[in-house]
Symmetry: C2
Subunit: 506 residues, 2 copies
């Protein structure tokens, strides 16, 4: 994989200087078209061997292009805020917006390679990380991002020579960090695992470019040309209008025997039972969130449901159990301008709770496979791939200790009608009912299909859906709280078990 | 100040229960109007004596109102990201958007009181903090924010009784932290400094409300009523259209002998001199940013100037001196939707560099007193008060070690014409020239007045303006770099001197 980057590519200075002016102009032009179009972000990943010219190349790109449209991001030591969130959070928060270019210096690849080379974990964990990177990049590209992955390479001999050269040069010796020398010790491992990573993550939508780092003219010109070609292709691509399907084709089987239809909508609680059970579950919930084991977890509760199913009321009963400092509630409505300039999942990543905290999403990332699907706000391809992206997302955050609990609050069509009418009559509830609600009601069947698909495709062991029979609000509220409690207790127990296992192994 | 909150206010349970339903409805209604209008944010500050019912009240407010529109923020231990920024940064990043309510539990007041009570500093520093709080709140209110400040009070006797009561109650004993007991030791100091703070920060636009905390019915009802009344007043206030003045009245004296007119626009550098000096200054700059004293500072460079004055080119020469990982460049254009939903300065606070870092603002917070003033995008009152707000902002960040260097790149009208024409002819520079540029040119005199006012009002010892004669790009670029270097050296020297002073005092 690296052979052709060790054969000593050279471009002489004259050729270089003759070609650079045109290249620069073309790059600048491309960069401004990128900004003007504002259609997609560009992400440049910089990896490879120390001393192979990574820093120099990034510096040069900033000189050739307009640095005001480039964000160079480094990911060294994690900050404590980053440590309190799932690993990918730090990358999500740094994603460039559409029309801009982000250069990620030190990224998910450097993190996994460092970890493997220094023996923090073995191949299976490396493969997991590789897989996660692939899925992240696939998703970003599906959302329109243009990703360049550069691996700057040197043979072992070349690297040693270069490090020595830098060290002897008083102007540059400050650049050699202890880490660099360390890498010269671990070169073989680094290259071995690097090869594994490159092999498995070079994909048509985001291929690796291995750049021989010895000769600066060759290196710079090659990177510049690759960038330009990739940018031009993406910029000249005709603007495809996403295929809009107002109501998506229903699944073939629609015999009304869906999960939703099989719910027992008569379930209810008497007032006395309700009050007793509610208080019990609220106290249990408050206790669990104060449990010191909570410090290693975070809790995410997702509320989806039919209009007027009682999401707000259920959320308030959950919140009432807690000190308001313990939770935050994120209502999801139409995305803001900044949110639209980022990949779909960005707006949810930014609201993820830190360890020990609890976030309620009042509607959520499932909007894409519900309202956006049914109303045709996104293309069929978009919502179809969303299922996989959502599962990936939930797996990633679950792996980091986040407990994800998802509720679909279901009511039947008659109950909805009654509630709509009631809302229109009570002054301080009028804000709760809009034209949209009546319109959505006409699409009852389309929504039902979307819900069933959603549950089928995203109810996983890691984060199952809980369907809540919500014709009776009391029943629904108690069920919600009880489910949250069960999920937290299960998570604590699993963690305890693992801790015991680890202990006994020692 | 606290006397009337120690006399034992009580509201009996029947009165309370009779009044609550209507109050809740009215609060809910107000809250949704707040959201619908989306005109202003609401900030509720919670302070006072431990055990006086702060937590309980916030919890109750979340139950009475819709918690999905409320953000409860706590400010305990600073995170390392917060520690790396000026003190107010943590509050700015948590400001609620227009239409929402933020409850700040632990805020600038708790921070200054804790510091003073525990002897971390003396009265002069407390007064500085008081003053900073006042200015912050004034600015927020001027931008439309509605601020409620609640001080929950207990007499010493009441507090001790309440802490003891909580301790003996097994359901609540977990709530008593060591800090609470500590406060019972420091009650007298806390009240003494609390009084000083309240006295000096109770203003017509954001008065304090002292609430006696003993009786929960009294406490809750009082807070609820105050909130409702304040909300209603603000919501019912007629939407005043800001007075739009397309071109602001020029200052009385306009005899063409302005600072701008007195610049020597013939200053220039020969190519050889330029190349030598540029390299020298770039090396000096790189060295200064690597200096270990830089770790206690951050650098902010603001670039403003006539259109086509060469801001971009100057910024690139600055950037070229550095490793791209050391700086970021923030181009300021029209604000995004989220930015418009926050106070004017919010978008700049969010981009401030952390300690050790360097941020270039390509256009800046001075937009308000330049383009927004001249084009009439904001009212006369807005840009007039902006001078003071900007000085406050720069003082705050300078106090935290941020070195602020501001450049106005000036060219004369003929030079601008030449450059505009040249830009229209060079293909890859066409993007740089728009209709707007030609339009702005017609307002040359209005802009000049705005610039002179700006310099007069915001060139301070803490962060002076540097006027750069930019008819000759070479001269301008070297002057920019030299000024940055001088500013950093001065800052390092001042810090060294202070360190020596501190040492010799010991």
């Amino acid at each position: 994989m690296f052979e052709s980057a060790e054969i000593g590519h050279v471009i002489d200075k004259d050729t270089f200087e003759a070609e650079v002016p045109a290249l620069r102009e073309a790059l600048l032009e491309a960069q401004f078209e990128l900004q003007q179009q504002g259609r997609f972000p560009v992400i440049v990943l910089i990896n490879g061997i120390e001393g192979a010219g990574k820093g120099e190349t990034v510096k040069l790109l900033n000189e050739w292009m307009d640095p005001r449209l480039i964000e160079v991001r480094t990911f060294d030591q994690q900050t404590d805020e980053e440590l309190a969130h799932p690993p990918a959070w730090r990358y999500w928060r740094m994603l460039p917006a559409k029309g801009r270019m982000g250069i990620f210096f030190g990224n998910w690849y450097s993190q996994m390679l460092q970890g493997r080379v220094h023996g923090e974990f073995k191949d299976p964990r490396l493969d997991q990380a590789i897989n996660a990177a692939e899925r992240l990049e696939k998703m970003l590209c599906d959302e329109g991002a243009l990703i360049f992955k550069f691996w700057f390479h040197l043979s072992k001999k070349q690297m040693k020579a270069r490090l020595k050269g830098l060290k002897d040069d008083p102007l540059h010796s400050w650049r050699i960090s202890p880490l660099d020398w360390q890498q010269s010790q671990t070169y073989d491992k680094f290259v071995k695992y690097g090869e594994r990573v490159l092999r498995r993550t070079s994909r048509d939508y985001a291929p690796w470019h291995v750049i021989e780092g010895v000769d600066s003219c060759y290196r710079s010109l090659t990177v510049g040309r690759i960038l330009l070609e990739g940018l031009r292709q993406a910029l000249d691509r005709p603007k495809v209008k996403p295929e809009k399907v107002a109501v998506a084709p229903l699944p073939a089987l629609d015999d009304q025997v869906t999960l939703i239809d099989s719910l027992d909508m008569t379930l209810r609680l008497e007032k006395d039972d309700y009050e007793e059970q509610l208080i019990t579950e609220q106290a249990r919930f408050a206790g669990l969130l104060r449990d010191k084991r909570m410090r290693r977890h975070a809790l995410v509760a997702v509320f989806e449901g039919n209009d007027a199913a009682g999401k707000g009321g259920a959320i308030r009963r959950v919140a009432a159990a807690l000190d308001p400092r313990q939770y935050s509630i994120v209502p999801i409505a139409a995305p803001t301008e900044e949110e639209r300039a980022h990949p779909y999942m960005w707006r949810f990543w930014r609201h993820l709770p830190a360890r020990g905290k609890f976030t309620v999403f009042d509607r959520s990332w499932y909007g894409r496979v519900l309202v956006e699907r049914v109303e045709g706000f996104c293309s069929r391809a978009d919502w179809l791939r969303a299922y996989g992206e959502i599962n990936d997302f939930e797996e990633q955050i679950a792996d980091a200790g986040v407990v994800v609990v998802k509720f679909w609050l279901a009511i039947d069509k008659e109950t909805q009608l009654e509630r709509f009418q009631a809302r229109e009559e009570i002054p301080f509830k009028r804000f709760k009912i809009t034209e949209d609600d009546w319109r959505n009601r006409d699409k009852w069947d389309a929504y039902r299909s979307a819900v069933c698909d959603m549950v089928d495709r995203t109810s996983t062991e890691i984060s199952p859906w809980t369907l809540v029979e919500a014709n009776d609000k009391r029943w629904a509220r108690v069920k919600v709280l009880r489910t949250l409690n069960q999920a937290l207790e299960d998570a604590f127990e699993r963690a305890d078990k693992q801790a015991r296992k680890r202990k006994s192994r020692k």
